[in-house]
Amino acid sequence: MSFLTLTHLQKSFGTVKVVHDFNMAIEKGEFISFLGPSGCGKTTVLRMIAGFETPTGGTIEIDGKNQTNLRPNQRNIGMVFQAYALFPNMNVFDNVAFGLKVAGKPKGEIETRVKEMLKLIHLEHLADRYPYQMSGGQQQRVALARALAPKPQVLLLDEPLSALDAKIRVSLREEIRQIQRQLGITTVFVTHDQEEALSISDRIVVMNAGKADQIGTPGEIYNRPTTRFVANFVGTLNVVQAVLVNGAAGTVQIGNKTLQLSQPVTGKADGSSISLAFRPEAATLADAANGDAALSGTVISSNFLGSVLRTKVDLGGNIVSFDMFNQPSAVLPKTGDTVSLSLQQDGLMVLGD
């Protein structure tokens, strides 16, 4: 049985429907990311779980108990905000102790718990500091400790890394994931950054216009997007127009080259035009001699991105990118070169509409 269940959740502000029918079952200890562009309703769903917004319809259950009509302070939830939201009038210790104090816990217990929490985030030595004396990364770790101190059932993270520098963002997200695993706490993480979502989630919910477009593991989301939106939003995608030769056999034609897909294509008439998509890393430079079903085109540009070299190629009107790993010995394609690309069979996706 799932731990946090959202059923037919809806929210309207006035006449504007922000969240349509949202359904989700989250297991205990799972790390779930809500990923989507701004305005897709991900933050609204999170705020409904927290109790800051009242759903227009639907229910929220935690551990079998209906939470829908409880006030935020009656729920047992921890939350970390984008802008840290540490209480500026309290030092680190008092910030972390806040939830325990308002719960009326005895002094000794508070002290033990706060120390434990500060140890968890490796900031024991800063207990007396005030928020204004700390860096953004430190503040956000304190905010995490503060949220975890009262032992919440669910942890909500509202874009907690967006205000931080790139380097700290990466290290803190690993630290968050590690702490989450250690405590086994059910966590919902809202972000607009796909790399973030892909790297730390058990499952990702890709949201678009108030609905969950796709729910799945990072691998599923990246490799098998079920909608055009998900395919476009997560990762870089090349789309080429092709003609369906034989749906049942899974053969398509691009220009004058016929390609074999790994799965049959249903729902489209043979001879109709379809959109075929692949990731930049699903294409490789083909050896002309090899006899692969290779597409040839002209190199438009080559960008050195460090570990990867990204090349743009014009395939008879379809402009696609492909990646090669950097090797000091590799001969890099030059602008104007004619190259052949071979596409991995299982890297080809047929996009729905």
Binding site: A50, G51, F52, R71, P72, N73, R75, I77, G78, M79, F81, A83, A85, L86, F87, P88, N89, M90, F98, G99, K101, V102, A103, Y130, Y132, A143, R146, A147, P150, L156
Partner: protein
């Protein structure tokens, strides 16, 4: 132009401090001279005069002269009026600002209220006194209304516009708007996330205000209290126009002293003025200190 070439040459090659010192500082000389002659020196004259005998020697007797019953009483009533009008101004101004910022009133009320506060906080002095005389005075609007409708006379109830409370109520007309002007930004500075963070950590609304909201606002509140106090303490025109010389408060005493040397000792006048500077200076020092503190928090 010589100034120009000099500065240009200086900015091209970083010179010794000696070379650029005179040219740069010439620009603020007129301002410095003005401030020195018409702000600093006159004030210093008073401060020094408070510790001088008629022939220029050092003495503490002028300041000691303040500690006579009638002058002490004047200071005491001045401080009481200033403090009372500051406290009430803070409370009422806070209530009004809180009503607009936190009370869920339409946002369209906000700008007119701030504009009006800007005007009202400047509407002090003689005309303000007239407005209150015409309203709360013996033949003022309120009194006439109460007399004709209820047969009650404000003076019978112990209210007199020419009194402690009369002056306090009048001062409130510029104290409250000043509070509104200063505290509205502070209330805006209370982030929504703090309230939400407190709520999600289990705090009730009361606990939030007691442990977070109020402590954050406290420096601003106390600082503004100090500022309002100084503001009322230095107000001369309103008091004189309202009460003539019937109320024995420090600004009126000093005014009378300057006009006619009623105390018969000019150096006691210095001491009186020095006392005013000390009181308003302390109040403002508190204001600056507390404000720096709250700005540091909210940075």
């Amino acid at each position: 132009m010589s100034t120009e070439t000099a500065t240009k040459a200086n900015s091209a090659a970083p010179p010794g401090r000696f070379a650029r010192f005179p040219m740069h500082w010439l620009g603020v000389v007129p301002f410095a001279a003005f401030v020195l002659l018409f702000l600093i020196l006159p004030t210093m004259k008073i401060v020094i005069g408070a510790f001088q005998t008629a022939d220029g020697g050092f003495t503490l007797s002028n300041v000691a002269g303040l500690f006579t019953p009638s002058i002490l009483a004047a200071y005491w009533i001045s401080i009481k009026i200033s403090f009372m009008s500051a406290i009430l101004g803070c409370l009422i101004g806070f209530a009004m600002a809180a009503a607009v910022v936190l009370g869920g009133l339409p946002r369209s009320i906000r700008d007119p209220l701030l504009t009006f506060s800007g005007v009202a906080s400047n509407f002090a002095g003689v005309p303000l006194a007239f407005a209150f005389l015409a309203t709360l005075g013996p033949v003022g609007l309120v009194n006439l209304f109460l007399r004709s409708e209820f047969g009650v006379d404000l003076r019978m109830l112990g209210f007199n516009i020419l009194s402690f409370w009369g002056l306090t109520v009048t001062y409130l007309f510029f104290q409250i708007p000043l509070m509104v002007l200063i505290i509205t930004p502070a209330l805006d500075g209370l982030k929504k996330e703090w309230r939400e963070a407190a709520a999600i950590l289990g705090a009730t609304n009361g606990q939030y205000w007691r442990m977070v909201g109020f402590p954050i606002l406290l420096p601003s509140l106390l600082g503004t209290l100090a500022l309002l106090f100084a503001n009322a303490f230095g107000a001369v025109a309103t008091a004189i126009a309202l009460t003539g010389s019937s109320l024995n408060i420090v600004p009126i005493l000093l005014y009378a002293q300057i006009r006619g040397d009623v105390l018969g000792d000019p150096h006691l006048g210095y001491a009186l003025a020095f006392g005013m500077i000390v009181v308003t200076g302390c109040a403002n020092a508190i204001y600056i200190w507390l404000r720096a503190r709250s700005e540091r928090w909210l940075k």
